[in-house]
Symmetry: C2
Subunit: 413 residues, 2 copies
């Protein structure tokens, strides 16, 4: 392979149709932020929008804003916008609560679809909250509900007539491995099992087409590639065919068909609205909506193409510039099998990440030995990738590193 030069990389930036988007974000000077898969950057428009929602909508309009500023419909309105990013229809996505809570909503919904199916299955190594939520739900009725963790390679084989739900992450948080949503959903359906897809590391990073995959349920996170702000509200997708079959386990008043009738008995709202629970966090919704609106301006195919190219470039440059330092890929090398992130194993992973962060390159470390780098294609440039690898090489070959200051620091952390 011919050696990649800075000119090559600059050329890629010049040809990048998504390049103008980076000016829409506040990105700290001199920082190379490869952690948009953990917390996305701040869209500049969010500052004005939050000022408006706080100063005018809350401060001046007060309680009237539930109607006059349409707060009451924010969860459904923003849900409909997210639907466009993930191949869902209007009325299939609702915003609110956290990904964890929304996993619980979907798991408990699946338990209602067929009383004879009582086991919740997810895989080892999944993002832990997914597995944890199956445990907590099973704990409510341990004589009836089971929670099983199976090997990632045995997921389909593990399904049988007792399986109530299969809960899988589309893009793996640590390795970036991409699951084949269509094939797995189809295989699960062959066994009568609905699948819950966790899209936390997929939505906003690549095209997702839930309905084309005949997907059943999905959840996802607002604060990663959707750039919705720290702890942004999450979302829930429920295919239309299931919505009216579910009596929500988290049956809060805003999921009632007439919340303001203040009836003593719960009666679920029509459609996706029954998957609301309590009063939504309006300020968080406002920030999220800015991130979604910005994302909707981007071409998702171009986004995916750039995301793949950024990851490929990073892998190639690490090979080229840091080949002697012992980084072993922890993600698929084939971009088609990978989300918008690249991971490497390294025995000194924690220390190396601390050193990188000190030098202005932010990725993150995932135990036991993984360095994880996310490439949010809306605001990361090819030159950013070049510079990040340049700094990685400096870190690995520097006197400071050889003197092991970071390794020592890591050892006592």
């Amino acid at each position: 392979m011919t050696r990649i030069t800075f000119d090559d990389v600059s050329h890629l930036d010049e040809q990048d149709s998504l390049a103008p988007f980076s000016a829409r974000f506040d990105i700290p000077d001199g920082l190379i932020y490869l952690d948009g898969n953990s917390l996305g950057c701040l869209p500049k428009a969010a500052k004005d929008r939050l000022n408006e929602v706080v100063t005018r909508e809350w401060g001046q309009d007060l309680i009237r804003s539930w109607n006059s500023n349409d707060w009451i419909n924010a969860p459904a309105r923003i849900g409909n916008k997210i639907a466009k990013l993930i191949g869902a229809d209007d009325g299939e996505v609702i915003v609110g609560d956290s990904t964890s809570i929304n996993v619980f909503k979907c798991l408990s919904a699946c338990l209602q679809l067929d009383n004879s199916r009582t086991t919740l299955i997810t895989e080892t190594g999944n993002f832990p909250t997914d597995a944890y939520m199956t445990e907590g739900l099973a704990g409510i009725a341990p004589d009836r509900i089971g929670a099983r963790l199976v090997d990632p390679d045995e997921v389909i084989d593990s399904l049988d007539e007792t399986t109530a739900a299969l809960l899988l992450t589309h893009t793996h948080y640590k390795t970036g491995r991409l699951r084949d949503m269509a094939a797995i959903t189809s295989a699960a359906h062959q066994k009568g099992v609905p699948v819950i897809w966790d899209l936390s590391h997929s939505c906003g990073a690549m095209p997702v087409d839930l309905n084309a995959c005949d997907a059943d349920f999905a959840v996802g996170c607002g604060y990663k590639y959707l750039n919705g702000g720290p702890g942004a509200p999450a979302f829930t997708f429920v295919a239309k065919r299931y919505q009216e079959k579910v009596f929500p386990a988290l049956s809060g008043w805003l999921g009632h068909k007439q919340p303001f009738a203040f009836d003593d008995r719960y009666a679920p709202a029509p459609g996706i609205n029954r998957f609301q629970c309590g009063t939504p966090g309006i300020i968080g919704c406002a920030a999220l909506e800015v991130g979604i609106d910005l994302m909707l301006e981007a071409d998702m195919q171009a986004l995916r193409q750039k995301s793949s190219a950024l990851g490929d470039l990073f892998i190639q440059l690490v090979n080229q510039e840091c080949g002697e330092f012992g980084f072993e890929p922890a993600c698929p090398i084939n971009a088609a099998e990978r989300g918008s992130q690249v991971s490497f194993h390294h025995p000194d992973g924690y220390a190396i990440m601390q050193a990188l962060i000190a030098c202005g390159v932010i990725g993150d470390f995932r135990a036991p030995d993984i360095l994880r780098f996310g490439f949010a294609p809306l605001y990361i440039s090819y030159r950013d990738v070049w510079k990040a690898v340049d700094i990685l090489r400096d870190v690995m070959s520097s006197e400071a590193w050889n003197q092991s200051q970071f390794k020592q620091r890591a050892a006592v952390t």
Copy 2:
């Protein structure tokens, strides 16, 4: 009773030690806001704080803020501040999720304390989300868990050896009726039943002393008297003696003892932290913390005294000025039995409230016929009460009212 004059009312304001607090809030010019029990006003300091959390903490510090700006401890830190307002100890209150979700956490916790107790009891006419959450939880295992609604007067009699939890609201959302927390908790304990207190309409409006009442569990709302912003995160109180006995049903990753170990199996964090679930909404937490910090500056006894006096004055003035218009009290007349709100029945309640709102007095209407007025003692003055009743009299006696324009409008709504 001697007639109350505007001078009398002005004199009360001059003597009010809490009067300076109103300058700390953004209150729209000319508006008399008697709905702080639904959505509290905007503390001026919230604007700068939110700008800081968005622009600097999210925008500049990004993912590092979880440590450098202590985002990770926000739920426990703010919880400890709320604890001071409700008679709880450090480590007994955690912020996050909605009141509804937190009700579910407490209900499911109670079910774990004694396997032989499987019925969840609340009262008819309670704020509906409380009752609804018992239904949803029972629906997960209907052969094991029961949800019962009982008459408010039969609450204690309804408890028996099968009761897992009694869920009650301290201050009733509609009538303002105040429950005797100490007496009810004690009576429930006599029957071996833990009580979950919903403090949504109490916290920030009066002193609450959970531990002095030997309380078990409690939840509360951040966006009413705590002035935390629309849909602010809610809170959960779990008495220390129960914390380690509960394996949370909503077992999200941030309730794990080592969230960043990414273990496959859930192991609950020590203490109150296990009642966290997913990633907290940091922007919402930041706004809430401003409201709490402001509230902590106020003397809670003075707050309660003023709240009672505002309500008493409103009742007296309605009698004095609007005696002929058919308002019937829907709240206790004795301030000691009432929260920080006053309610009246009126057959034209909806129309009257619409007319009041059009004239700049905001309260709210609760079906079927209740006008509800909240008196947030941090920012409502005695003169506000005078003016509100003045406008109410104008509305009731005006030509517009007699021409029934609002009544007609109400009829078609």
